[in-house]
Structures are given as structure tokens and as C-alpha cells.
């Protein structure tokens, strides 16, 4: 879609034209869902959050002034929703964890550790196939909020640094250094997972 067509679509949406809104959802739903899924790591949560992102677009379209690309504005909404959802999930998890018996928790952790250490391969071998995907998702989930956001936007969604700066409101140098740390953390996670089989 050309920028002029998109501008027209947004003008129609500002007049609350439901057909224009439907077109925008169809145009961006895959991208938004993909971004949100990688930020949250859960399909069910990603579906719900992706819907909330478009509802925010419908409600707040008057605030879009066209100073950035529409997709950049949309991604900013999506990343903010993801952050809020993760906070909510973290609170729920914390609450659930408090209710867990400590012994059960220890045995579960031991079982998880054993399962992980016996099923992995070398980093350069495992970055192909389902196991690599699972491991990468796991590693992304272990990053802190800001690192995860940058990694998803840059390495998975392929956005430019300029777009990421606009979405996150962080200086480019900060974006690059945090992204570097995030990549190193992912690489180290893969290396740790590969170690048992190397022996």
C-alpha cells in the first residue's frame, strides 16, 4: 500500500469508518501478532494483546498526527501493551508462586534442569529446527524487558535503528549497546545449553 493510500485510510478511520478500520486490521494483524507473540511467548496472550492493540488504535487514532510512520506508532502501542501484560502476568505468577509448596518447587526445578541438560546440541548445530526455536524462545523469555523489546524489534521484526529509536524513545547508542548485550545473553544461553553434549 502506498503512503498516500495509507494516509487516506487513516483519515477515514479518524471519521470512525468501520471499513477503513477493518482494512487496517487485516493489513497489520500478522505483524502485530508476530511482534506480540515474540514479546510474550504465549499464543493465547498474544491473541488477546493483539486485539487490545487494535482497540487502542480505534480509540486513539485522533492522537496520530502523522509525524512518524503509522507502523511505528502501531508498534509503539504494541510494545507498551506487551510491557503492561508482562507486568500483569508477573504479578499473577508471583501470587501463584507464593502458594506453591517449596518442596514441590524444588523438585520441579530439578526436573526442568535435567530435561534441558539432556536434550540439547551445539549452538551452531541447534540453531536449526524446532529445538532451536524452543531454545531461542526460552532465551528471549529470560531477557529483561528492555533487551527483549529491542531484540524482537531489531532481530526478529527487522526494524531499522531509526524506527526503534522512535518507538522506544531511547538514543541510538543506548539501543545498540542494549541490543548487543541482549545478543550476547542469547548466545551465552545457547552455549550453556550446548555444553552437556559437548563433553
Amino acid at each position: 500500500m502506498s503512503p498516500a493510500d495509507e494516509a487516506l485510510l487513516i483519515e477515514r478511520l479518524k471519521r470512525r469508518d468501520e471499513r477503513a478500520f477493518n482494512e487496517i486490521v487485516r493489513l497489520y494483524e500478522a505483524k502485530v501478532f508476530g511482534l506480540v507473540y515474540k514479546m510474550l511467548g504465549s499464543r493465547g496472550e498474544a491473541e488477546d494483546v493483539a486485539q487490545e492493540v487494535f482497540i487502542t488504535v480505534f480509540k486513539a487514532i485522533d492522537q496520530f498526527r502523522g509525524e512518524s510512520k503509522f507502523s511505528t506508532w502501531l508498534y509503539r502501542i504494541a510494545t507498551n501493551h506487551c510491557k503492561n501484560r508482562r507486568k500483569l502476568l508477573a504479578r499473577r505468577m508471583e501470587h501463584a508462586r507464593e502458594q506453591l509448596d517449596e518442596a514441590t518447587e524444588r523438585s520441579h526445578a530439578a526436573a526442568m534442569s535435567k530435561a534441558t541438560s539432556t536434550t540439547l546440541g551445539r549452538p551452531d548445530e541447534i540453531v536449526e529446527g524446532f529445538e532451536a526455536e524452543r531454545l531461542l524462545h526460552e532465551a528471549i523469555g529470560l531477557l529483561d524487558e528492555e533487551q527483549r523489546e529491542l531484540l524482537v524489534l531489531r532481530d526478529i521484526e527487522g526494524l531499522s535503528y531509526q524506527e526503534i529509536v522512535e518507538i522506544t524513545a531511547q538514543p541510538e547508542g543506548t539501543v545498540k549497546s542494549r541490543l548487543h548485550r541482549a545478543r550476547i545473553a542469547i548466545k551465552e544461553h545457547l552455549e550453556r545449553a550446548a555444553r552437556p553434549r559437548k563433553k
Binding site: 471499513r19 487485516r26 494483524e29 508476530g34 507473540y37 499464543r43 493483539a50 487494535f54 482497540i55 531461542l136
Partner: protein, 137 residues
């Protein structure tokens, strides 16, 4: 070109190199170092593999239709103002302000209509009274 690039200087450039953001001169210097340094070569290869793996991550399709879910939620939260079934989905909607203005105009018309009917009734009543008076006289 700097053939004596050390490990730290080389590794500081890895990220930009993987992103394709290094100038030709720095890129060549880094490649020269990496060719000669096994540990840097291995580290750069692993970083490339990691980033390639991230870029190749797939996304499962959503289990439900996102558009339908969005429409349902907006319809519910707006109490049926948007995305109601039938003609309202045609994309055109009369703003509430216009509806309110039309209602006021209708009330004014009805008010004046009733007032003029009452006036007519009063006039005809008076005329009838005058006619009766004349008949008595």
C-alpha cells in the same frame, strides 16, 4: 586498514558488522583480524548464527480471527455503537451531535405546530361565540 586490531577492538565491532553497518575500511580490518584470530572467528560465527536464528524464528498463526475478536470487543465496550450487525457496518454513521440537533428541531416543529393548532382552535371558538352572539341579537 588496521591489521593490528586487538580482540577488544574487534569484538566491539561485531554487532555493527552483523548489522551491516560498518564502513568498508572497518569491515576489511575486522575481517583481516578474524581470519587470523580463531577465538574471534568463533565468537563472530556464533553471533552471526544466533542473529540468523532469531531472524528465522517463525510465528504460529493465531487460533482465532483477530478482526472478529476486535470487532466483538469494540461492539461490547461501546454498547453497540460500533460494529453492530446490519446496515451500521456499511461504514457510514450519523454522529450523535446531528441526531441531537434533529431531535431538537423536531421538538420545535411539534411545539409550534401544536401552538398554531391551539390558536386555530381558539380563533374558531371565538368566531363561533361571535356568531352565537349575533344570532341572539
Amino acid at each position: 586498514m588496521n591489521p593490528k586490531m586487538d580482540h577488544d577492538a574487534a569484538q566491539a565491532l561485531f554487532n555493527d558488522h552483523v548489522d551491516g553497518e560498518l564502513g568498508a575500511e572497518q569491515s576489511a580490518a575486522l575481517e583481516a583480524h578474524v581470519q587470523a584470530c580463531e577465538s574471534c572467528r568463533e565468537a563472530l560465527d556464533q553471533l552471526r548464527t544466533t542473529v540468523a536464528g532469531l531472524r528465522g524464528l517463525s510465528t504460529p498463526p493465531p487460533a482465532s480471527d483477530i478482526l472478529q475478536g476486535v470487532q466483538r470487543k469494540i461492539r461490547k465496550r461501546s454498547r453497540g455503537r460500533y460494529f453492530t450487525r446490519g446496515f451500521a457496518t456499511s461504514g457510514y454513521r450519523v454522529p450523535y451531535e446531528i441526531i441531537a440537533l434533529l431531535m431538537v428541531l423536531l421538538m420545535v416543529v411539534v411545539y409550534f405546530g401544536m401552538a398554531s393548532l391551539q390558536d386555530l382552535g381558539a380563533v374558531s371558538g371565538a368566531e363561533r361565540g361571535h356568531a352565537e352572539d349575533r344570532e341572539r341579537e
